[in-house]
Amino acid sequence: MNIVFSLLAILVVIAAAVLGAGVAKLYFLFGVIIPYASIAVFLVGIVSRVVKWAKSPVPFHIPTVAGQQKSLPWIRNSRLESPHTTLGVIGRMALEILFFRSLFRNTKMELRNGPKLVYGSNKYLWLGAIVFHWSMLIIVLRHLRLFMEPVPSFVFAIQGIDGFFQVGLPGLYITDILILAALSYLVLRRLVDARLRYISLSADYFPLFLLLSIAVTGILMRYFFRIDLVNVKELAIGLFTFHPVVPQVTGVLFYIHLFLVCTLLVYFPFSKLLHMPGIFLSPTRNLANNSRMKRHVNPWDHPVRVHTYGEYEDEFREKMKAAGLPLDKE
């Protein structure tokens, strides 16, 4: 049911683009107004989410992370898994963001005959995730050739490496194949395993289908039903320099692709995709495990009014003296 709902949602998005840009020819709406609006929603949405997170109290670091904490000199500590310095924290964050360290630790549990419960390493999710994310980054950076004038040299370098095999014309990009393979795996993973299917929600399928349809429309436009790129770049440059032109692009595939990207931008700040900024604010990743070296005072503790013994004695000195009680100070 969840998957049907997500598929229907994607079909509605595509149908909106087909009807709006393909049939009604609302090029200015689909090429200028909706992209501007979705970029604004994306930026404001992300910033307000992060500010909202930043307003909640920072917990103390979590000492039970996957490595030995720094303690006595003869106990070897894990500098990256349980860092006690800022440099170590940066290292742990870099491992997490660039190489998905915690997904690499993913394990699988199986009940075998016996009955016996066995645990094993399961790297496929990590592989699918890292292939998808890196392909996505490279594809986004490649798109800068249409967004920036003159085209920066690093974009040419990326294109050269990505199109290394020089298959066909326009040349085949390796990342185009990889992103399709990775996204297909990530969808199938949720469908094949009954337990995973049971816990999968519409919010899990929808972003996968959205990304998949963006990739497919982009690939169709590059290799099968080409459009005049000069018009596309003119539209993009017009948007980015705030001199929007009435789009000259006529291919409906382009508007479907653009509208799906706009949907992604709008969907982003309200969905699980927020792990992009969220990973930077993960307490188990970004807090140094240094409680043995540094005293952490709870910053939101209410100030407690205390009455020390010295003050107590000052208050009742005369009465205590009269009752013959022993005093610290005479």
Partner: protein, 131 residues
């Protein structure tokens, strides 16, 4: 806000990266300039091997097909939609009308960031007389 210094710095970096095409294009100023093609002025050749609209989108496909036809199948002539026959030769047929690559090919290619590998094999016609 807790850790506001770090978080605001991070948000500024994020916003700057996300809007980098805006800064880049506005600072470069001449970004709105379109490619400026110099079209051939030959008397005996008024039209291209296919419609301009098709050529704009699919010339790379056509060239790829020509290469396949010539190298693999040994075909030499291409009959266009208007019934004319053209020799399937990049240097003779294509560059015959468009000899100045910097005023034709490179205009769009550098605008949309394409680096075709034509010149890995073909000589750039720098010695041809440019009309």
């Amino acid at each position: 806000m807790y850790d506001s210094g770090k978080i605001i710095a991070g948000l500024i970096i994020f916003a700057a990266l996300f809007t980098s095409p805006v800064w880049y294009d506005v600072l470069n100023g001449k970004a709105l300039q379109r490619p400026d093609l110099v079209l051939p002025s030959k008397e005996n050749q008024k039209e291209c091997v296919a419609a301009a609209e098709f050529m704009r989108r699919d010339h790379m496909r056509l060239l790829n097909d020509w290469r396949y036809e010539v190298v693999r199948k040994g075909e030499t002539y291409f009959s266009s939609d208007n019934g004319k026959e053209y020799e399937m030769r990049f240097t003779k047929t294509c560059l015959g009308c468009h000899p100045n690559t910097s005023q034709f090919c490179d205009q769009c290619h550098s605008y949309v960031g394409v680096t075709p590998y034509c010149w890995d094999c073909h000589n750039k016609p720098r010695n041809l007389s440019i009309q």
